[in-house]
Symmetry: C2
Subunit: 369 residues, 2 copies
């Protein structure tokens, strides 16, 4: 065969739904010398990353570690470890990722009920109250920041109802973690997963998860093995814990990147990062209004890190996005499902959440619409 050209990827400003821009410090961490997955020095790095993850998740949970796959692997980790065939699960669905949760839970043989809301709106706690009054659910799951719609779901009311039912509260924080408060212990989230490629400012490839003791107890009391060997936390926690029992070869370089990214986030501080995401989001809304581009989601439930904007009438969606790539090296996201062609998704996440990026995009869109 003739060999392909050497890699020469463009230098994009990543303002889509993820991956988000990655700082030089994190990119440099990726290219540090690879060591073994049982190297004493790597074991120290693992411990440090777990400690930092607890801080980022705002939890005292012992079990907080990065799964060796992307955010969807984190989702699957939570469901396959908690569920056994026939278990009842309640899932909130108002976008792609709630829909995905249903699919994943059904593949575990679970009995899935849903609480639904129109895409672009929030789930209604009242509907959870009704559903939870009728049946005991082993797990109730919702998405915090729905990347497909730009909705930031309020958690507190649903958390309380879920616990009154005796159900475990499972939250998808793939897009929100680092960019908006995800206070695992304070809110009462029993199980939470995230991804590295959003507000953590790291390339895609790992999925941090955390389980509290109540959730770990559910894993301990399983009747049958977890259906996924690769995602089986009862084995993985023995590698990340003091036993150091080999499970799979950890992705060393990606774990370096995560360590660097978590350190950058904690240097800034969680509160400061949340505030920065909020302020840059507000700047975007102001700048887009000048172009008569309006947010697609009601103000009170807008996710600051994933901004869905209604595409103005008469604007050619695909052409604008292609020209953003070709002429400005900017990526924004298209709408998915029922929102295809109706919205753009502008990610302002992690290292990418900066006023300069809003200005770049506003300047470009001014020429294109």
């Amino acid at each position: 065969m003739s060999l392909p050209p050497k890699l020469n990827p463009p230098n994009r400003t990543l303002l889509g739904p993820g991956p988000s821009p990655v700082s030089q410090r994190v990119l440099q961490a990726l290219s540090l010398p690879v060591v073994g997955h049982l190297d004493p020095e790597f074991l120290k790095i693992m411990d440090q990353s777990m400690a930092m993850l607890r801080e980022v998740f705002q939890t005292k949970n012992r079990l907080a570690l990065p799964m060796s796959g992307t955010g969807s692997a984190g989702m699957e980790t939570c469901f396959v470890n908690l569920l056994e065939p026939g278990d009842a699960v309640l899932i909130g669905v108002n976008g792609v990722f709630g829909t995905r949760m249903v699919d994943v839970a059904q593949r575990c043989g679970a009995q899935v009920d849903t609480v639904e809301a129109e895409w672009g709106t929030a789930l209604d706690p009242q509907q959870f109250r009704t559903a939870l009054a009728k049946k005991k659910y082993k797990v109730t799951a919702i998405v915090h920041a729905e990347t497909s719609t730009g909705v930031l779901q309020p958690l507190d009311d649903i958390a309380r109802l879920v616990h009154e039912n005796g159900s475990l509260f499972l939250v998808d924080a793939v897009t929100s973690l680092g960019g908006a408060p995800v206070r695992v212990d304070e809110v009462g989230i029993d199980v939470c997963y995230s991804g590295t490629q959003k507000c953590l400012g790291c390339p895609p490839g790992l999925s941090p998860v955390t389980f509290n003791e109540r959730a770990v107890e559910v894993i301990r009391n399983r009747k049958q093995k977890v259906q996924s060997w690769y995602l089986d936390l009862s084995m993985i926690e023995k590698y990340w814990g003091s036993e150091r029992v080999y499970h799979h070869t950890a992705p060393i370089s990606m774990n370096y990147a995560l360590h660097a990214a978590l350190r950058i986030l904690l240097e800034e501080g969680m509160e400061a990062s949340w505030q920065r995401h909020r302020q840059v989001h507000e700047t975007l809304v102001r700048e887009m209004r000048k172009l008569e581009v309006e947010p697609a989601v009601a103000e009170s439930i807008r996710a600051p890190m994933i901004n869905t904007m209604t595409i103005p009438d008469g604007t050619d969606d695909a052409r604008v996005r292609q020209r953003l790539y070709d002429e400005f090296n900017i990526e924004i996201g298209a709408g998915l499902g029922p929102l295809k062609g109706k919205i753009w998704r502008v990610g302002l996440m992690g290292y990418g959440s900066r006023v300069e990026n809003v200005e770049l995009l506003a300047k470009a869109l001014k020429q294109l619409i």
Copy 2:
């Protein structure tokens, strides 16, 4: 919390069972600017990597792509996509990875039979003949290079018997691919998986897999969904194929590294790489003999990339390995399971398969044993 120190991993010479040493070119690829998983430029890189993977697997299979997890995720990909509850599977077991295959297949609800051999010896085709004469198996699976024992399993006879039975032949080439001939089409391997962190010379994190049309047909004719959403090839092939349907966010940086690593391998050429692994292995055997350290496996079935050596009587296994780390920055592997404390595992894989590395190790061991 007090922040951990910045990353400063040691510069090890990785002569263990993997990860293997990574060249500067591959490390540099890791730190290239991240682009989106639907960026037109990334889609080109994906196509190029698939073409290179076909060359490396020596196959014309359309389906050849890297799964977004480590080698064990590749193993699970093969079993979960092919198997449904109640399916009959025959697995060769003579080490850790054959044992793992049994566990993974059982978690799919399969009926698993095994052909076993003592750890450190090869599987006997005659036993496959006997087993395959008794029952029709949907899949027959073996490990090519057993990383836990250092055995390189001859494939041809078993391949023929498997096909006479009408079974699919599934081969674990995690450790062998790139370092010894894995001629997928010529041997008649229907399904094959590998890992990036062995003879491909890339950090751990991805698992290349290939399925031929007969195997793809089995996936198409499934009665129920694949139990793993994350590893469901019927969806993943739509992202890697012409449809470009979003499934999960591909690990961009790891895919850069794989692209660079595959290109380096093909620049050298497959035959040349196999020959180099063979020659460096022979040098190791000679050098170790001078220290009265003998290979643990019979000559005809020694895997050139993972050399198991019998620990000399009276040598303190753990202490030698620790001193190799501390005084020489060299990693070698310990024995696993029944071979713990009895053997060392010396990986000479990919970029690490070089005479200089043999010399480094010989010089160090001379002082330690």
